[in-house]
Subunit: 196 residues, 4 copies
Amino acid sequence: MSPLNRQQLNQIRDERREEIKQAALKVFARRGYTGTKMSLIAKEASISEGLIYRYFNSKKELFSTLIEELMEEARRELEHVQHLPGTPFEQIKNLTENMLDENNKYAFMLIERARKDDDVPENVTRIFEHLPTNGLIDLLVPVFIKGQQSSEFSPGEPRKLLTWYFTIVISLLTQEQEDEEYGLPDVEVLMRILTK
Amino acid sequence: MSPLNRQQLNQIRDERREEIKQAALKVFARRGYTGTKMSLIAKEASISEGLIYRYFNSKKELFSTLIEELMEEARRELEHVQHLPGTPFEQIKNLTENMLDENNKYAFMLIERARKDDDVPENVTRIFEHLPTNGLIDLLVPVFIKGQQSSEFSPGEPRKLLTWYFTIVISLLTQEQEDEEYGLPDVEVLMRILTK
Amino acid sequence: MSPLNRQQLNQIRDERREEIKQAALKVFARRGYTGTKMSLIAKEASISEGLIYRYFNSKKELFSTLIEELMEEARRELEHVQHLPGTPFEQIKNLTENMLDENNKYAFMLIERARKDDDVPENVTRIFEHLPTNGLIDLLVPVFIKGQQSSEFSPGEPRKLLTWYFTIVISLLTQEQEDEEYGLPDVEVLMRILTK
Amino acid sequence: MSPLNRQQLNQIRDERREEIKQAALKVFARRGYTGTKMSLIAKEASISEGLIYRYFNSKKELFSTLIEELMEEARRELEHVQHLPGTPFEQIKNLTENMLDENNKYAFMLIERARKDDDVPENVTRIFEHLPTNGLIDLLVPVFIKGQQSSEFSPGEPRKLLTWYFTIVISLLTQEQEDEEYGLPDVEVLMRILTK
DNA sequence: GATGAATGAGCCTTCATTCAT
DNA sequence: TATGAATGAAGGCTCATTCAT
């Protein structure tokens, strides 16, 4: 007799939750934790302010959830790099292009802000304390070493070069310069850092 | 009756104003506009909250003043590069080291945040609308061209290469990674972007 | 086409309405007007939140309805005392036991809260303004006087003694002390107030 | 050079804190925890809403502080009873009159509400879990026994009789019936419970 | 000039109420 | 009829700003 069955309701709930997360991602990424008003997220998601709280207990929880899920996603993507087709150079290039892609940009922007900003919920701070910046970098070290063996990459300490490289990549994508004159540097140019 | 004459009072005022700006710079740079409470600035400057308002009408004005003065300072510094001793490569290298220096870092961090963040007073947003990122870059183009003529720098469109280069430098210094494993990339490595 | 005829539907409606009132009584009595969330009533009645509004226009109306009906019920019960079997002493004792009985307790608790609490809808406040505490007491005065004539009750102003007595009885039953050491005072002890 | 010295400031702070507690006591006692809006307390104290938060971190803390201090005060008063002049009967009578006094009334009302109401901060609930209603009663048992030995009080289990007696007294003073016809029962009448 | 108490607008959050199904 | 998702007004709390001293 129920107007919608349980499965339909669950699906609606999941979709709505996903919409809220997408909206929150966009706003948090641009404005940071404190600078983001729940009303802005609500407007971005085209829903009322109150509704957010049926899906997330608080602004803090919404933010944390986002960060945790994005971190996990990033980890999966980095792990996956070694299974991409092509040489190590092509694998890293592929990853870089992916990171700079419009669709993934917000995710990395937000992670970056969450890591750098001081005005972030304590539990989020703790996530990054336990995971050093370059923690995820280790997943790429084997790929890089293979590239060094095939002389695609320049010699030198792998973790160090990779860390520098991704420091640059990540900081670049927080720039939002699409509409400006030259856009982001070509990936090929960026990769000079690794290839000399 | 007055124990201090007008000139001394003015000097005290100026010093106090400067202290407040220094404190504000530090806190704004780390926490952004919205994330910064006036009470934090007061504490950083070791004064009472109310006193700030004797020197600046509002948080917004304090922030704007800071940005405007830092922009002017940056402009002066860039203009001065061509008068530095040494070759164009050495001049740019010198500038870069200066930017990454601990003492100047906050200034560039703050400018960077002010330019990127969305939660910033409207009049500050307007400053950057009228001044494209690479507006200041034009000041360096003559130096770069001289370096190209002497083959210190790689050929290519000067504004484009310089823009990419400083995009990277500026975004790097917002990272605050002193305490981490590898620190910032060596300036020499960064300049590969310009020299190939 | 309809599987139930109008009469059956009406009966269901009435039963449902009654269930909601019972649930509301329990929750309002324990938590007061402001402290009671509609969601708690819904849960207590094992129905959805929205459904309550098919039967009552608002929380306020639900509360008022409850109070009015309970007041009427109380009035009927007090009126009925004189027709109970036994002496005046036994009649009053019987009434007292009835009031302290687990099943009737919530009703008196709620009336008591509605009368004392300040955070109650205005129209409920008005009910009690027009009806002094001891308004209902008058119904018992004849019984009491009969008891005085038969020397069951001590001499003294009947309304005054009865008011004091029921002030005590009613305030006692708001105590909810079942789980504590001594429970409520014996009715016999309480009635010393009336018998000296 | 400071306009007010530290001692003066501390005194102002203490007075203000006390004013807020007095106002809060009055409003909480009448309206309960949930039913009390901070704005009402502010109005009662003739200050702004925000100022309360310079003295108490939250509504919850204000409430808890109040309860804890009142409990401690009550304990002291009960302990003191045995040192009052007069016979045990007179000592208890004195205490009772004290409790029913207009000035102390709110304190007992609030304690009573805090103990009975369900919508109260968790830490307050815990205070009463660890301290049974009649926990404080034990302080009076020696006095009562002395009164039994001198035949001022009726025989019977002291804790039980005292508990019943104070259950009645406390619930009476929550009644707020000053303006009504008969006021509260005479203390002498109440004490019949103890003297038979 | 300097302090910190005081104010009140605005943000996060809750919950009575409405609405689509 | 029944459900629970959705809304928005209002309350708790923060913090930029003002003010008395």
